[in-house]
Symmetry: C2
Subunit: 272 residues, 2 copies
């Protein structure tokens, strides 16, 4: 019986407290907040909000993005990631979505950017290994390579995990990897290394009007979510199906109507 | 000394005859037209236009897109591809850009779409092998998987060429594969199989406003074209650097001003 969680970005217009309430009301068992959602709360307070509503902590966003402030910004980026990991640990999350970052500002060098990001990963993986929180490295769709992630495929993400060898696992987001003909092979590889930590879903719309903010509800696009879920469960994944939708269009909908429809869509795509 | 060619789509507002003239005027040695550009000309007439202007035939667009008209449309798609190949042969092109097509209409199955496209490739590769024209399979960026191409990486494209084993080569388009950390490895693999047939360039803009129609001029984006060219030449590629820019913005510019600037950009990115 699949259990569903909501990534807080899916309810971008709501506060964390409202989102937790809404999850409880619509039968979403877990929530994954972003650190920015919780700025006004201590980790214990944030946890209590979820506990009081009977909603579990599915995950936490996020760590990484090492290149964002340039070569001189590495220490700050690592400090910020450590802070996120520590907050996540106190909050009671067991994983943190980790996105390695894109090109360095004013540079086109992929090798330089990859080395920079990898060095950052080494530093925060070391830190995370002393906490109950595992880094869940998320390969992003190759259209996000320049801005957000030098790691654009499951194969590459598995390679990074192998090289880091420090408890680092994977976030598998259907939107980012659905196109990959090696999906089954790389999921099996990740499973055998015990690193399938999270599964995010949304849908790829045809056409897509905006590269970041036009994801669809399950069923509105072309991703065979049912087949991907089958692959995940066959590989032994048994954790949440987490809905993560960036969509300016859907963010404007009435949250209750949206969540009711979303739950329907989830039940269709992922039958018990 | 690199030689430059223009893919006709780059001069979308011009006729074929105007584009050939413009290439000659601005020092672009070759042109790659699309079949649609030549509808009013026999292959011999089209060739004479280029010959008279002293412009070479760099390539031809295109064959493939098997899924476009659904499962029942395979024979028509193959016939259309054969016609394009035959036209290209009479025209004097030695390669034809080949794009395998996306998902079948009303289907989300990647395995089905890949099998369908591969079957089509077998049929047209057989046909091409009896002509002087080689299929130049072009992997497209994974953001085009649903619409245009089940083959989204050089690794996958090399695998398809290995399996087809019928003289099929590759078009390497920087816009589609620049993000790939395996670029060097796969270019070397392609070169050792004698299948590096074409090299297309443009630039990836950050941000990109439209997935299809917002490519940039060399130098306006984040692609390290100089490094990619170095990899290509190190692998033994010695044919044209072909500019292929889909851009509603650039298509509106004055063609002569545009081509003069484009030539400058090419000379900067690819120094002699």
């Amino acid at each position: 019986m699949p259990e569903f969680a909501i990534n807080k970005i899916t309810l971008n217009e709501l506060s964390y407290e409202q989102a937790v309430e809404a999850c409880a009301r619509h039968g979403f068992a877990g929530i994954t907040p972003w650190l920015d959602d919780l700025k006004h709360l201590t980790p214990a307070q944030a946890r209590k909000v979820a506990d009081d509503a009977g909603v579990s902590i599915a995950g936490f966003c996020n760590a990484g993005l090492f290149a964002l402030h340039g070569k001189g910004g590495m220490d700050n980026a690592v400090d910020a990631a450590r802070h996120s990991i520590d907050y996540a640990a106190e909050f009671g999350a067991t994983t943190i979505v980790t996105v390695v970052g894109g090109l360095l500002p004013d540079s086109k060098s992929i090798p330089d950017a990859r080395k920079f990001a990898f060095d950052g990963m080494v530093r925060i993986a070391e830190h995370a290994s002393n906490t109950p929180v595992r880094l869940a490295l998320e390969p992003l769709h190759p259209m996000y390579t320049p801005d957000w992630s030098m790691v654009g495929s499951l194969s590459d993400a598995n390679d990074w995990c192998d090289r880091l060898d420090n408890g680092v696992g994977l976030t598998v987001d259907a939107y980012h990897v659905w196109w990959d003909p090696d999906f089954e092979v790389e999921i099996a590889r990740a499973a055998s290394a015990g690193r399938l930590l999270s599964f995010h879903i949304s849908d790829w719309l045809v056409p897509t009007g905006h590269m970041l903010l036009d994801r669809g509800m399950p069923g509105d696009g072309v991703i065979d979510l049912t087949a991907m879920w089958q692959t995940m469960t066959n590989a032994g994944y048994g954790d949440y199906i987490e809905v993560e939708i960036f969509s300016e269009r859907l963010w404007k909908q009435d949250p209750d109507a949206f969540l009711a429809e979303l739950k329907n869509r989830c039940n269709i795509a992922f039958p018990a």
